[in-house]
Amino acid sequence: MTAVSEVLSTQPEPVGAPPPRAGLGATARRWWRQLTSMRTALLLLFLLAVAAVPGSLLPQRPLNPPKVAQFLGDHTTVGPLLDRLGFFNVFGSAWFAAIYLLLAVSLIGCLVPRIRLHARAMRSAPPPAPRHLDRLPVSSAPALATGTPAALAAPVRSALRRRRWRTVVRDLPDGTVEISAEKGYLREIGNLVFHVALLALLGGAAAGAMWGWQGNVLVTEGSAFCDSTQGYDQYTLGRQVGDSDLPPFCVRLDRFDAAYLDSGQPSLYAANVSYGTGDFARRYRIKVNEPLRLSGARVYLIDHGYAPILRYTDRYGQVFSSPSPFLPSDITTMTSDGVAVFPDANQKQGETQRTPNVEVAFEGVYTPTAPEIGPKVRSVFPGERSPGITLAAYRGDTGLASGIPRSVYSLDQNQIQTGKLKMLGAKFLRPGQKWTLDDGSTLEFVGTREWAGLRVDHDPGQDTVLVAAVLMVVGLIGSLTVRRRRLWVRLAPAASAAGTGTVVSTGGLARTDPDTYAEEFGRTVAEIAASMPSMPSEKD
């Protein structure tokens, strides 16, 4: 295209390239220019997009560790290689960080000179008129007006100012007055705001990763947890966070509410909690989209399930009872699996010697709505319409005493296979029903409580990120909608029979969106024309 497109960009004209110099400094400068060029930014943007793809296609450790393990098991050759290259934690990998850090550096290198240039452009006056206005992309043919150039300059200028043009009037020695006008400075400001906000967003995200922390905990109705690393089942602390940085508060789950449609689709989850520091004086109802917001932490409801209460009365009449959280194996029907282990059962009181192989454990499936017919190991509805539990009883050595930490949701299969833990039988129980085992001990299925999976999160960077994101949109709208234009009006003195007159000529240059300028230019020139008295025409 013509020269017009060369000024399409609002990028300030490059300052004259420094004279070539030999040596390290020059090489460094050349590399720096290369890094901060638009072409490099483009390349890095593409790289960033491409690098993100495997993060969505391969299982990711921070999102789903079991899936990663499964993938590694299924792909024994490529799996470990991908693992070493960080493909199972793409967004935490060194190469992903390298791309966005390079982009950030490039961005800074690009922004600093641009900010400086634009600040200068904001302070300096619009440039003088080119000699040949009629050679500009848009121009108007010279026309005659009454009055001296100096007298006409004022109304022209105020007409332009009304349209928010920035103007400067220059008086030339030959009596000509030139008005230079420019508008659309906000475009570059918008662009700069956008890019600076983008950097701020990255900063906020980084701060969140450094000073933020999360903890997950499962609480059953009636029980509580406190905000400390011991209080959580699982936690992650940011690099700059220590145990003592967690604010002290405790949360108790008083009641969990769930409601379902007849189709089984959930329509409500709510955790009614009491909380406080040192007491449980305050109450809140945590819903899925309504976390409990404390200063320094937010508490979310992210999971729920049933905890059957199994009461075991051992052969000596001692009673053991506790709600055992079962994990849903199918969230649409809430069929749940779990265990209840009673390692201290069947020990005769007063004996110092521990009787071996009399520990008792129950493993089973809880069905909140057991089917009317057929096997009762799959629930047909997530709510408790017809609850029942199918349990297998075991006696022997559960392996808990070995001290090796293990899952509290399943039995140690090793103990069963080696015959150390023997199955006694299985039974389906309704709430209130009792099952008498071969040694006369009994198990009663008392009922259930609900449990809630809570997540506690603190991210000190997120407010920064939000503000930066909003600024990005604002800046973006400015940089995409504001148009940068220049306009010149030349008022040249002209002697004529009717008295002093002025030849008015105008010209314009669009620095962005040149194709829409013509119309706007025409309108502006018409307004300028309307602002000045005309030359009396011959007919008068």
Partner: protein
């Protein structure tokens, strides 16, 4: 009491039929139209400005770049630039296409309204409804483009917009179809309305930008074939009846640049919602990841257009790529990859 959910399903079929008919009518106008009808509106007139006491000011405009001038004689009666009321049967076919599109769009609104009433909530709670909303936005965006008189005359290109819309609607009605149900608790948030509607608007507008981008590429290939003295082969041969490449490129940019801030906003609204629902504003869930990829690709497009050597064909290819990433997000992520956004309602 009629079953509104069933009515909604039937209206969807009606919508698809109407759009298909509109597509055929646009196609007829495209296939049999003279090139002149296309080029006529592309010629810019000299603007005469007469105001106040000054004699009319003649504003001279940049001469239209090569390619935007009519290549064939325009209407027999007058020179280019004059709007001669000249109605051929094909104009009526084109008019019919627009009427069918408008009726189709109204029925389309009906699909969503009945669906929303039947479900008792906003009608974009799952992927089926989202896809239908996106299509409505695309059709409305197309109608808006049609009402802008000063732009290149594009009516006969409607087939290129209706084709992806009809395909998407067809896919929605078959592959993605989900029965009416209220929202699951996680989706029960006013951020849903904001986030999803912004995403649907941006996606619909991106779709129009994709369509004009493809047209640009066809026209560009045609121009290059002509310049090289070759016979343009399909699909470049379609370019003979397309408006000038420059106008198509500009429209592609305008439309895409319009959608980009909306897409940015949609992502931000999604992040705000995620902060309330999932405890973190960003978690590289597959849906988030692909939204990010699309955003970066479209940002790359905006940069490319301002980079010498990239403007034009190469930049428009990025728009095509951007749309491909949007489609991966809509279909690939919902159907193949499972993440937190498994709200598609598909089992």
């Amino acid at each position: 009491m009629p079953d509104l959910a069933t009515l909604s399903d039937q209206l969807l079929i009606t919508t698809i039929l109407l759009y298909t008919a509109a597509m055929l009518a646009y196609g007829v106008e495209y296939a049999f139209g003279r090139r002149g009808t296309v080029a006529r509106a592309a010629v810019r007139e000299r603007v005469l400005v007469g105001a106040g006491g000054l004699p009319p000011v003649e504003v001279s405009l940049p001469s239209p770049p090569e390619g935007s001038l009519p290549e064939a004689p325009v209407s027999p009666g007058g020179p280019a630039g004059r709007t001669v009321p000249d109605r051929s049967p094909l104009d009526y076919v084109g008019g019919l296409a627009v009427v069918l599109t408008v009726i189709g769009a109204l029925v389309h609104v009906g699909v969503l309204v009945t669906r929303g009433i039947a479900a008792g909530r906003v009608p974009w709670g799952n992927m089926y409804e989202f896809a239908i909303s996106v299509c409505l936005i695309a059709v409305v965006a197309w109608l808006v483009v049609l009402t802008r008189p000063k732009r290149v005359a594009v009516r006969h290109l409607g087939a290129f917009v209706m084709l992806p819309v009809v395909l998407l609607l067809g896919l929605a009605g078959t592959v993605l179809y989900t029965r009416v149900a209220p929202l699951v608790p996680a989706l029960n948030s006013y951020w849903l309305k904001i986030h999803v509607s912004a995403a649907a608007i941006a996606t619909g507008v991106f779709l129009v930008g994709f369509a004009t981008g493809v047209l640009y590429l066809i026209r560009d290939a045609y121009d290059r074939a002509v310049a090289a003295g070759r016979v343009a082969r399909f699909p470049a041969s379609l370019g003979a009846r397309l408006p000038a490449a420059e106008g198509l490129e500009r429209t592609t940019f305008r439309v895409t640049a319009f959608a980009f801030p909306i897409w940015t906003f949609a992502i931000i609204a999604g992040a705000i919602w995620a902060e309330a629902a999932w405890s973190r504003y960003w978690g590289w869930d597959p849906k988030e990841t692909w939204a990010f990829i699309s955003w970066v690709v479209y940002a790359a497009y905006l940069h490319a257009r301002a980079t010498a050597g990239w403007r034009g064909r190469r930049a428009v290819w990025i728009v095509v790529l951007g749309w491909a990433t949007m489609m991966v997000n809509l279909f690939g992520v919902n159907l193949v990859i499972t993440g937190l956004h498994s709200y598609a309602g598909l089992q």
